[in-house]
């Protein structure tokens, strides 16, 4: 009898749907059916057993091909790369569990590496704004149960977070929102007429890259000041109308995405969005939330803030001091400035996401990819180490976009012999410690211990 596993968490986007039902074959080796998931989440489960998987680490050969090696050899290679580099970079973690992130941080600290996660090229600017201006946020449950005005600013959940609108924002019937969509006003602010804008009551087609000016206009209006006739391509009347709706809301949430983080000004766009949220709280209850991308990209922020006090771009090269300053210690800047001399890409695809110049710089040095699948990064690496897929083959804790931790479970076993991210990093840490001990022993032999020499026998 095939086994039905209920309440499974989905390892795709930051919404972290935890209501999936997965049907597994008799022998526990095949995933037969996935219910409740979106098309993308569905594909992640089916991909695990429906495709050819890499089961052993692969090391690049002089002729350019890959050769299978053992996990022990791979661990030794990775540890030596980290040990010998002056400033290695460990980047990724969008798609792994918090246990793996904590183990990787141990490795980074021992190796004196820079530790960074995908937020660096995504919602990292949100962190900077939050440092500067606070984070008046809430949980997705509060939005579902209370919100009667929803703003999507520079976000397109219809494609990036497919079940966000149906689970939490627009459609669900919550405790105080029994009429569902009928009782909610939806405002979408986006330069494009996206599929999310299709379901909006009001769509403000802001001029691309001028969100900051529009926020400034909203703030001036909320404080009762005059504004010019048109700001960022939006007419004054429309700004006044939306500001009035916002002020009259019972509970509102601004969900913002890459439209703010990836356009000019980045953290300042988010910063002023936070300021607007704070201003609106003079009238009613307003909250703001980042539309975090991957299912556990909120995780490294939580784990490393607990370990080091900073969520990303951690320069641990001084080992006992953690330094963070995006612009200097952020992955793409480090790569573009040629500031690192080894690269570990884990649980993401820097090959696909980084600017090509950054990839070219990183390729001058050893490049290791740790990923269950074949991706662009794995194909240009010197070493590719496969691991189990978190949420499918490996259990663990993940953080949802609203900073709520959820325990994920596994539904099948990983391919025989394939280990988890956590185990891999623990083994690299062990090997690094051994290498350090060997080096320390050598130095002992080199230096003559101080002391008085014994008199020779007469």
């Amino acid at each position: 009898m095939p086994k039905r596993v209920e309440n499974v968490g989905c390892p795709y986007c930051g919404v972290c749907c935890d209501d999936l039902v997965v049907t597994v074959s008799d022998d526990g080796k095949q995933i037969l059916e996935v219910e409740n998931a979106c098309a993308i989440g569905n594909q992640i489960f089916h991909h695990a057993t429906g495709s050819e998987r890499v089961k052993l680490p692969r090391l690049r050969q002089p002729d350019g091909t890959y050769k299978d090696i053992s996990y022990d050899e791979a661990v030794d290679y990775a540890a030596k790369v980290l040990y010998n580099a002056k400033k290695p970079l460990i980047y990724g973690f969008g798609s792994t569990n918090c246990e793996g992130m904590a183990a990787a941080a141990k490795v980074a600290e021992r190796a004196g590496a820079v530790l960074d996660n995908c937020a660096s090229i995504c919602h990292g600017s949100s962190f900077l704004a939050i440092f500067d201006n606070g984070y008046p946020s809430c949980t997705l449950g509060e939005t579902k149960n209370r919100a009667d005005v929803i703003v999507y600013w520079g976000a397109n959940p219809a494609h990036a977070h497919p079940r966000h609108m149906s689970r939490y924002s627009i459609f669900p019937r919550g405790f105080f929102t029994g009429k569902g969509q009928k009782s909610r006003k939806i405002i979408v602010i986006d330069p494009r007429h996206t599929d999310t804008a299709q379901v909006a009551d009001i769509h403000l087609q802001v001029k691309q890259g001028h969100d900051y000016e529009l926020f400034d206009a909203f703030r001036a209006v909320v404080r009762g000041h005059e504004i010019p006739e048109e700001v960022a391509g939006i007419k004054r009347e429309q700004i006044l109308e939306v500001a009035a709706i916002m002020k009259k809301a019972r509970f509102g949430t601004i969900f913002y995405g890459m439209g703010l983080c990836h356009s000019d000004g980045r953290n300042h766009n988010v910063d002023i969005a936070i300021s607007l949220t704070r201003d609106l709280n003079d009238y009613t209850k307003w909250t703001i939330m980042a539309m975090r991308g991957h299912y556990n990209i909120t995780g490294p922020g939580a784990v490393w803030s607990w370990q080091y006090g900073f969520p990303y771009c951690l320069d641990l090269t001084k080992k006992d001091i953690a330094h963070m300053n995006p612009g200097e210690t952020s992955s793409v800047d480090l790569a573009m400035r040629d500031e690192v001399d080894a690269f570990i890409n884990i649980g993401t695809d820097a090959g696909a996401h980084f600017p090509i110049e950054a990839v070219k710089h990183l390729r001058k040095h050893p490049w290791i990819t740790i990923d269950p699948n074949i991706c662009m990064a794995s194909e240009i690496s010197d070493l590719h180490i496969p691991v189990g897929i978190v949420g499918v083959e490996v259990p663990g804790i993940v953080y949802r976009m609203d900073n709520v931790p959820i325990q994920y479970r596994k539904v099948i076993d990983p391919p025989e012999g394939v280990i988890s991210d956590e185990e891999l990093f623990e083994r690299i840490h062990q090997r690094l410690s051994e290498l350090e001990a060997e080096e320390a022993a050598k130095e002992q032999a080199k230096v003559t211990p101080e002391g008085v020499r014994a008199e020779s026998e007469p």
Binding site: K86, H225, D271, T317
Partner: protein, 266 residues
């Protein structure tokens, strides 16, 4: 005043972090002792003498110590960081954090500098003959008390995020400035003699900004009040006077609301 000359003869593979290159650290030290000071290249700590040849001894105190850097210091960070007195002359370019958190003394860079120069500055003088990168005279990440005092002069252009959270002091940019000037500012003065791209004085509470050229995208939160004649940086000129950022909170002093001032030259 005694002069210590550092010449970069053996450039690093990665970047050098030279926070020890300050008159404060060189004072009272002989050339050989200075060469033994620590600098970092990634996780490797090495003596300064590994990269630089050191000539001359430090003065008795920081005030009496002058440091001259020769050779291409494009890949040297943190020169003059946290210095309190004395003088540093960098003959060419330098990298990030030059004069960061400085409290006194003078740094003169004859070439260009990269980002984060003069951040968290409390006093002293930072002069750049070329261009400066981003975050010039800005506050460190998450710090809401930015530049407190001192003077920064850049002859060329500056990048974005100049003077974020500025609280005091003066920044003079001879050329153009990119977006975000004095964002979240609560005091101080920024003078841009060229053009500014936009977002000038966003979320600004108090303080002054002068723009001699044009502002490509002015903020809706600034409102024109009058025309004034003012003396700025040694010359008198007429300016259009705006107040703002009207969207931001503003303190009330003696019954009057205090706004930030933006002046554009007529």
């Amino acid at each position: 005043m005694k002069t210590v000359t550092l010449t970069l003869t053996n450039p690093s593979e990665l970047y050098i972090e030279g926070q020890n290159v300050t008159p404060d650290n060189f004072a009272g030290k002989k050339a050989a002792e200075i060469a033994a000071l620590d600098v970092w290249e990634g996780k490797q700590k090495g003596p300064l003498g590994k990269y630089f040849t050191v000539e001359g001894d430090g003065g008795a105190t920081a005030e009496e110590t002058k440091i001259v850097l020769r050779g291409d210091c494009t890949r040297v960070k943190r020169i003059g960081q946290q210095m309190t007195a004395g003088e540093i002359v960098i003959e060419g370019n330098a990298d990030m954090y030059i004069g960061g958190w400085m409290k006194g003394g003078k740094v003169h860079v004859k070439g260009n500098v990269d980002s984060f120069c003069g951040i968290g500055m409390e006093g002293g003088e930072l002069i750049v003959d070329g261009n400066a990168g981003h975050h010039l005279g800005s506050s460190p990440r998450g710090e809401w008390r930015g530049m407190q005092g001192g003077v920064i002069r850049v002859a060329g252009n500056a990048g974005n995020d100049t003077a974020t959270f500025i609280n005091g002091g003066t920044i003079v940019i001879g050329g153009d400035a990119d977006i975000h000037i004095s964002t979240h500012g609560e005091g101080g003065t920024v003078i841009v003699k060229g053009n500014a791209r936009g977002r000038v004085g966003g979320q600004m509470v108090k303080g002054d900004i002068y723009v001699y050229g044009t502002i490509e995208n002015p903020l809706p939160g600034f409102s024109m009040v009058d025309e004034v004649e003012q003396e700025v940086d040694g010359e008198t000129a007429r300016f259009v006077h705006y107040i703002g950022d009207l969207g931001e909170r503003h303190p009330v002093s003696r019954g009057k609301t205090v706004y930030a001032n933006l002046y554009t030259r007529l």
